[in-house]
């Protein structure tokens, strides 16, 4: 009863609340803008310098760095939907796959230049996400999750079976020597005897140039996501997450906002997918499977849903440990524990062995459960807590920067 009363009264409460928020917002706007500028500068510096920064960790090779960037973009996009609106989509990998296929088709038919491929991939993913989003967003909560899951599984199954002329089924779509490549042929680039490499106006996109392309796209995506977080549109999305009923009571139709967020995040996924095709021009249906969607959920949650940096951090951590852990075997474990006495070393190897190499997913699953149970705000919340511990009182720092970061646990 009291709950109902609260809901009915809530539109009336809205006004003073809104003014208060607005006051705080305007007061801290200039400082917030400066903070954002610092954030984006530091972020770009770290990303661009990552080949040197990550060298001590053994992660400084272009292939892995590219994967960091691509999954970072994917997670940033997913976070715009899940982190801001709270709608958990279990089908985002479908858009990743669509972006990949579209980009490879652009390589096959038009040109090996990456710009049209990326544009084409983003466009296709955007179109599909508008279509799927229009249907799925009629429902909320679990139903939304299951609907997106259903659509993703449908796309995956179709890509494997009937759409083989477009997707090349199990083999995966790849470049061949007799592709037409209309634009390349028109601009007088001779079809060579070997498979061409993706390029950006003649610069070959393999190795470090490929990484820097991904890095720059990542920085741009991150900037756009900051802008979305700070915009009235972003505030609206957060309002939907906090209390969708209240938003409706105040006369706002929330569905167009949700659809826009869904399309934006679908386009991010398409962007990530087409970049995947740029670094390796091969697209397979397994990219669309629902476990792949689960992976991006893991990344976002691990880093911290609803925070700016969290998803990128989560993507980096997961991809890094995937790379490290899955390369471990019994031999490396033995040498790692060799400093311990024999019996103990043997024991440690037996204990840790199931968690590395083939069993890397076990570690991931355990880690993920621990995060959801104890740290729902992800690594960002953890960092915040540790920061608060050092700065003395927890409440003080939060009061100082009310508009700066979303509270992850909200």
């Amino acid at each position: 009863m009291s709950q109902n009363l609260g809901k009915i009264r809530s539109p009336l409460d809205m006004e003073p609340l809104a003014i208060e928020v607005h006051d705080v917002e305007s007061a801290s706007r200039s400082r917030s803008a400066r903070n954002d500028l610092i954030l984006i500068c530091v972020f770009s510096a770290v990303v661009l310098a990552s080949p040197w920064l990550l060298a001590p960790f053994g992660a400084a090779y272009p292939d892995l760095l590219q994967r960091f960037c691509i999954f970072g973009i994917f997670a940033i996009g997913f976070n715009i939907m899940f982190g801001l609106t709270g709608y958990l989509s279990f089908g985002h990998a479908a858009f990743l796959g669509i972006g990949s296929y579209a980009a490879v088709w652009s390589f096959k038919l038009l040109t090996m230049n990456v710009i049209p491929a990326v544009m084409f991939g983003v466009l296709c993913a955007g179109l599909f996400s508008a279509l799927i989003g229009y249907v799925c967003l009629r429902r909320a909560g679990i139903y939304f999750s299951i609907l997106t899951l259903a659509f993703a599984q449908m796309s995956y199954n179709l890509a494997y079976s009937v759409l083989t002329p477009i997707t090349n089924g199990e083999t995966g779509l790849q470049l061949t020597l007799n592709d037409s490549r209309v634009l390349d042929a028109a601009s007088g680039i001779d079809p060579t005897s070997s498979l061409p490499v993706t390029n950006l106006f003649g610069m070959k996109m393999s190795g470090y140039p490929g990484f820097y392309l991904c890095a720059i796209v990542l920085i741009i995506s991150f900037y756009i996501s900051i802008r979305i977080f700070r915009s009235p549109f972003g505030m609206m999305l957060r309002g939907i997450k906090t209390n969708q009923n209240r938003m409706s009571y105040t006369g706002i139709n929330t569905r167009p906002y949700l659809l826009a967020a869904f399309v934006v995040s679908g386009m991010y996924a398409g962007l990530a997918g087409s970049l995947m095709a740029v670094t390796d021009p091969l697209a397979g249906a397994e990219r669309m499977q629902w476990t792949a969607s689960g992976e991006v959920v893991l990344m976002t949650i691990l880093g911290g849903a609803g925070t700016l940096l969290g998803p990128v951090l989560g993507a980096g951590v997961i991809k890094y440990f995937e790379n490290i852990f899955s390369s471990f075997n019994a031999q490396t474990l033995h040498s790692a524990f060799s400093f311990l006495p024999d019996g103990l070393a043997e024991f440690m190897v037996t204990i840790t062995h199931p968690f590395v190499g083939e069993g890397w997913h076990l570690t991931l699953g355990v880690l993920f459960m621990l995060i959801v149970i104890f740290l729902p705000g992800g690594l960002m919340e953890g960092a915040q807590r540790i920061g608060n511990m050092f700065s003395g009182s927890g409440g003080k720092s939060e009061a100082e920067s009310p508009a700066e970061q979303t509270k992850p646990a909200e």
Partner: protein, 342 residues
């Protein structure tokens, strides 16, 4: 006509598996309000109970028979399962009927796993949002799956049905069709009967026992039941265990039809969720009906005649039905009005 009958029969056994998993999902959702993404993993664990029993009873001792020799001149090796050595004919019986016997083994194991899962993890998630429940059970499903993979390897492990029921029945003859048109393996008939029995047991338990009555009352209004001095939480934990047993037994009996591997749970889970949604979240008869219905639909969609008209329909029919249902009648076929409709 005979083709239609065959498709219905073919669909029913898969549908029965969907129905059993969906029944458990609905029970858990109805009682605890938790969305359990690890339910497919329970199905898979049940299947691996059968694998474990199969392995145990098939441990063999090798004895050399010096009186006979192989064509290569070495003594013939005679392999006898240990249980046969120990128990004689009864041991041979155990080897032969390892799958049905696994049921006895699976019931306590699954009950234990279910109760541990509920007490150890799920109970902390009643008040958390559905998204968190989905995420944590999804993580649990990955963990269970990977443990099984580490233990049993990644390859499917076929389990044989007892020889007595290994063949097929020519059902068509009984109904007056030509012989050989409607042929159906005995084991699938057994699976159907078993599922019907299991579903019947669950419904009888809920409908005709005092315990079940209290559980149903708790599903309807948990607070009032609690105020009456009944420890409803404990009963819900038992219901969770029961749901785990149902999923586990569905898995045990499914092993001769589909060799179990570590990701069979995930494959069935997605479909079972769709089944729950189509049947109506929180409706037990809806889950069963939708499971059978979707199984039959899928089987019809994979007929060549249908596939020629609509290529690829067999791959997407279930999801398509779910999308249509959610948009047209969001509470599902038999869902109560107002339950999770938004």
């Amino acid at each position: 006509m005979d083709a239609i009958l065959l498709q219905i029969l073919n669909g029913l056994d898969k549908g029965a598996a969907y129905a059993l998993i969906a029944l458990g999902l609905t029970l858990i959702f109805g009682t605890l309000g938790v969305v359990n993404f690890a339910h497919g993993a329970l199905f898979m664990l049940g299947a691996f109970c059968a694998v474990t029993v199969g392995k145990l009873v098939n441990y063999q001792v090798v004895t050399l028979d010096p009186t006979r020799t192989t064509p290569w001149g070495t003594p013939v090796e005679i392999r006898t399962p240990i249980v046969q050595e120990w128990f004689g004919d009864f041991g041979a019986f155990m080897v032969e009927y390892s799958v049905p016997l696994s049921i006895l083994f699976a019931i306590p194991i699954m009950l234990l796993i279910g109760v541990i899962m509920e007490r150890g993890l799920i109970q902390f998630f009643y008040k958390r949002p559905h998204a968190d429940q989905i995420l944590v059970t999804f993580g649990l499903a990955i963990v269970i799956q990977e443990i099984i993979k580490a233990q049993f390897g990644a390859n499917p492990i076929p389990q044989a049905a007892p020889d007595l029921v290994a063949g097929s029945a020519d059902i068509g003859v009984l109904l007056g069709f030509d012989p050989g048109t409607v042929v159906y393996p005995y084991w699938r008939i057994i699976y159907l009967l078993f599922s019907a029995l299991l579903i019947g047991c669950v419904f009888a338990f809920l409908q005709f026992t005092t315990y079940g009555m209290v559980v149903r009352a708790g599903m309807a209004d948990r607070e009032t039941v609690g105020l009456l001095g009944i420890n409803i939480q404990q009963r819900f934990t038992v219901v969770f265990g029961l749901a785990a047993v149902v999923a586990g037994l569905a898995g045990v009996m499914y092993t001769p039809i589909l060799p179990p591997d570590y990701h069979m749970g995930m494959d069935f889970l997605v479909l079972s969720f769709v089944v729950v949604v189509v049947g109506g979240m929180g409706s037990l008869p809806g889950a069963v009906a939708a499971g059978l219905l979707l199984g039959v639909l899928q089987s019809f969609a994979s007929m060549n005649e249908v596939k020629n008209i609509l290529p690829g329909i067999d791959q997407i029919i279930i999801y398509l039905v779910a999308v249509v249902i959610l948009l047209v009648r969001p509470r599902g076929l038999m869902g109560r009005k107002g339950v999770m409709e938004s």
